[in-house]
Amino acid sequence: MAIEKMDIRKEMEGKLIVVEGIDGSGKSTQIRLLEKWFRSREIPVFLTEWNSSDTVKQITSKGKKKGTLTPITFSLLHATDFADRYERNILPLLHAGYVVLADRYIYTAYARDITRGCNPEWVKKVYEFAVKPDITFYFSVHVDIAVERILSGRPKLKYYEAGMDLNLSNDPYESYRIFQSRIIDQYNSMVSSENFVVVDGTMEIEESQKFLRSHAMKLFEPSSINSRRSISV
């Protein structure tokens, strides 16, 4: 082989903290507060959001406008976005010792793609290259509460955001509600297998943040620092 074997095992120094949950569950507010906390303690931190790679967005925006996305292309476009952020930010920053905070991670893809009808094993294998988080906080909230938080301003829901491609209802708001409740079912099925730390999404902001910080703190205790994981690149 002219190139060296790529699966060298590397030590990871950083920590990966993930928040998951449906829109309106409060996770984004909480992860931003965690980011502030790390910054105030002068711990190098990086926040990455789902579907936010500029490079990928530029390339796909044309296509999204033109074409209709099928469940497979929808899934692969999001996987491309994730891979770009993973290869350029998440993995190198973890190696460099950063705390990487992810507002949504591979579990969002599992939940949405499986709800859209993609084969569960297929989806999981596509994302197999991604390292598992040190902590995943799952913001559990009743669908009505989350949907109420999002819909109270009567926003204009985007076609895919409302799950209109699933033909659940002709009314975008009703479709959105059904779609979100199916995603909750998917999340619930992962709680124990993926070691989610469940956060009650109806707690007060301060209370939730205290809970998150007490859990995150544990990652920096001496016993935990010494137990480095290794992952394949």
Binding site: M6, I59, T60, A79, A83, V126
Partner: protein
Amino acid sequence: MNLQLTEGKKLRKVHFYGHAIPYLEDVEIKGKFIVIEGPDNSGRTTQIELLSSKLEADGHGVMNAGLRRSELMGEGIAEAKKSYILGKRTMSLFYAADFADQLENKIIPALRAGYIVLSDRYIYTLMARDAVRGISKSWSHNLYGFALKPDLLFYLDVEPKELAHRVFKKNSSLDYYESGVDLGLSENMLESYIIYQRLISKEFKRMERKYSIIPIDGNRDIMEINIDLQKRIDGFLTSN
């Protein structure tokens, strides 16, 4: 679609490599699916043009497909390649998304309508490129599990040195990715090109049995190769 073309053709089930697209699992097609693989300048496009004309002259409906042609992101990939900033996994998924779009929106509908689909490259090129870049074969195989199996799959095998000559006849320079420059194989671009093309060709050899690839000696002249391909295709069409 022209109903006359499809008259009398039998519907048949399609076969996939792995986890099919759930809503396409039971799709039935009437057409035939033929793929021609091979490196740039191996003569694929010329052969596809010749085969298409002949098949159309024989009265078949023919549709051409190929990589990086989807409405969704064909242009986007071309842009991305110019900037050299995307990682290997990202590129791989990009191509997969483009391919999925073409498969669902172009190839499968044409096959259902009874066309002979001639594809200028398919998933094997993508898998070979990934493999030489260190991406695991089982990952790629799963990724393309939704791809349907072609009826006939040819690989135009051409000596890397002969390929380089053909490139220089057309252009004065070698292509960045086709030379595997991102792999850091050699300081010398021509050497890098030759090494890279050999690695890809080796991957195709490795895939030959698993995917029933028919190797075709692409070092011969255009018409000789064409007669060879046409004979094999005619043989397949009369026996099926």
